[in-house]
């Protein structure tokens, strides 16, 4: 770095730390949890190095953490013995039986109009993703937006307000707390106001879905600019449309599941194949096509890579015995 202010080079420190780690590992000193003090007792020269600079110590802790996490890979030894077929975790019959078990309290909430005009503002910043693409943005306030496939947003920050317009698609928001500077989201049919929290919003076919994993979120419908508001807390999913807002009380685990796309995965529980196909089709150019009603009714459970539609089709073939035929740009699934 700059000569006026020499920072320790991260590269040098990390290289030295990795070399030390490899050496200690070769000598069999790295079993069990990371214990720098014990290593210092065992090796005087390591003691000298690791305590010479704070940067050495943190670099070593970083390397040792990665190495010790990697020990969990030993689990693969057994996992690889499991036949591929196990990806479809439960038999279809069981899936059907479980379908009715999801109890949810539904309450209708009166919507809230939130966006009073902020005129004379500078132009918003525009961000978008293509099909299958995901993008993470860190905004000036430290809020982090994760854009899912086919998404477009405008971001406009002023002194008093932070505004994001969700034009289309799905976004996970991790909003930095700033009570005096509310964070407002205009998603067309639904308006959302938060102070500092995390949640996902999806805008699709006239409905805005808000799934809350942390904090409190106010949701209102654009069409009903009344005075009431619906308040979502963790584990709740709100659906705002031209008809108002409906809130589904679920649990945090269910909400987190809905947000698995951030890790590049999709999870289904007793989900009809036609919905599964629609979900895959959001992310991929190769489209899954279910050719008949009966096949579309088959329920699927499991977690899948959202970008690997071929693998899913193979599994549908192996696990469910479906007919899979490939055509340009599409994969057809049928029962016979």
């Amino acid at each position: 770095m700059n000569a006026d202010y020499a920072l320790l080079s991260a590269d040098d420190a990390e290289q030295a730390a990795a070399d030390w780690l490899a050496r200690l590992d070769r000598e069999g000193l790295l079993s069990g949890p990371v214990d720098v003090d014990a290593l210092c007792d065992a090796r005087h020269d390591f003691d000298v190095w690791v305590n010479a600079e704070m940067g050495h110590r943190v670099a070593f802790l970083r390397a040792a953490t990665a190495w010790s996490r990697a020990e969990r890979l030993a689990a693969l030894k057994t996992h690889d013995a499991i036949p591929r077929r196990s990806i479809l975790q439960r038999p279809v019959v069981q899936m059907l039986a479980a379908a009715a078990c999801i109890a949810m309290a539904i309450l209708v909430v009166i919507p809230l109009g939130l966006f009073e005009g902020a005129s004379g503002q500078p132009a918003p910043l525009h961000y978008q993703t293509a099909r299958g693409e995901m993008k993470t943005l860190t905004l000036e306030d430290g809020s982090v937006l994760t854009l899912n496939t086919d998404t477009s947003v405008d971001v406009l920050f002023s002194k008093d307000e932070r505004q994001v317009a969700l034009i289309e698609g799905e976004v996970f928001f991790d909003v930095a707390k700033a009570p005096e500077r509310p964070f407002l989201i205009d998603a067309g049919e639904g308006q959302v106001r938060v102070l500092g929290t995390s949640f996902g919003i999806e805008r699709r076919q006239g409905v805005v879905e808000v799934a809350v994993s942390e904090g409190t979120v106010w949701v209102g419908s654009a069409a009903h600019a009344d005075t009431s508001e619906s308040i979502l807390t963790p584990g709740m999913i709100g659906y705002a449309s031209a008809n108002g807002v409906i809130v589904e009380t679920s649990d945090v685990a269910a909400v987190d599941q809905r947000l698995l796309w951030r890790e590049g995965r999709l999870r289904f529980d007793d989900t009809p194949l036609r919905d599964v196909a629609a979900e895959f089709n959001r992310y991929n150019t190769i489209q899954l096509v279910v050719t008949d009603e009966a096949t579309g009714d088959i329920e699927i459970g499991g977690t899948f890579r959202l970008d690997n539609v071929e693998a899913f089709a193979r599994l549908a073939n192996d696990g469910l015995g479906l007919d899979v035929s490939h055509a340009p740009g599409r994969i057809e699934l049928s029962s016979e």
């Binding site: 780690l21 970083r62 990697a70 030993a74 689990a75 996992h79 993470t136 430290g142």
Partner: protein, 189 residues
């Protein structure tokens, strides 16, 4: 004493690495220096935690990052107009403790597997023999017909690449919970 701080650093600071680097990249014009800044933030965080563990690591991390950048700017570097403007609207007090997401053992495993797949082949094989098969470096060298220093070099390279890959994958990741029985399907590769 230092053991507590070490543990705090590994459990609480390291999972924030991707977030920290994004923040630094956003506020520092030279991307090639972000790692050095991150490293310096780590050192400062560690030093301050040695005098007492913070209640809110994330908030401390952001204010430390901000102070570091201010230090550097004061030492008269060429600073882009954008950076200066960011400063004025920059309210670090708003960076409150965010959620620490937890990951299941299965998610952790698939993350590790993804990280492993980013390694060059030879290095990956050696890391696999060492970590998956549980062979010692000597046994690994023997099995591959190479010298022990060669294995050691690959372990060094492997751990560096793994640390970087895991930091990239482990955005907002906290501790690992609920070991065995989450009902996820086996991940397709």
């Amino acid at each position: 004493m230092s053991k507590n701080v070490d543990q705090w650093f590994m459990d609480t600071v390291l999972p924030l690495e991707a977030e920290l680097e994004r923040f630094l990249a956003r506020h520092w014009s030279d991307a090639s220096e972000v790692r050095d800044l991150r490293q310096e933030v780590y050192s400062r965080l560690y030093k301050s935690a040695a005098n007492g563990l913070p209640h809110n690591t994330r908030a401390l991390m952001y204010s430390t990052a901000r102070n570091l950048i201010i230090d550097l700017v004061r030492r008269k570097r060429v600073v882009s107009i954008e950076t200066v403007m960011d400063f004025e609207s920059w309210d670090v007090s708003s960076e409150e403790a965010g959620p620490f997401e937890t990951v299941s053992a299965r998610q952790e495993l698939s993350m590790l597997r993804t990280a492993l797949e980013t390694l060059p082949r030879r290095t990956r094989d050696i890391v696999q023999m060492r970590r998956v098969q549980g062979m010692s470096q000597r046994e690994t060298a023997h099995a591959l017909g190479v010298s022990e220093p060669t294995v050691e070099r690959h372990v060094s390279k492997g751990v560096r690449l793994l640390a970087d890959a895991l930091a990239k994958l482990g955005v907002h990741r906290g501790a690992v919970i609920s070991p065995a029985n989450d009902m996820e399907g086996e991940r397709e590769r």
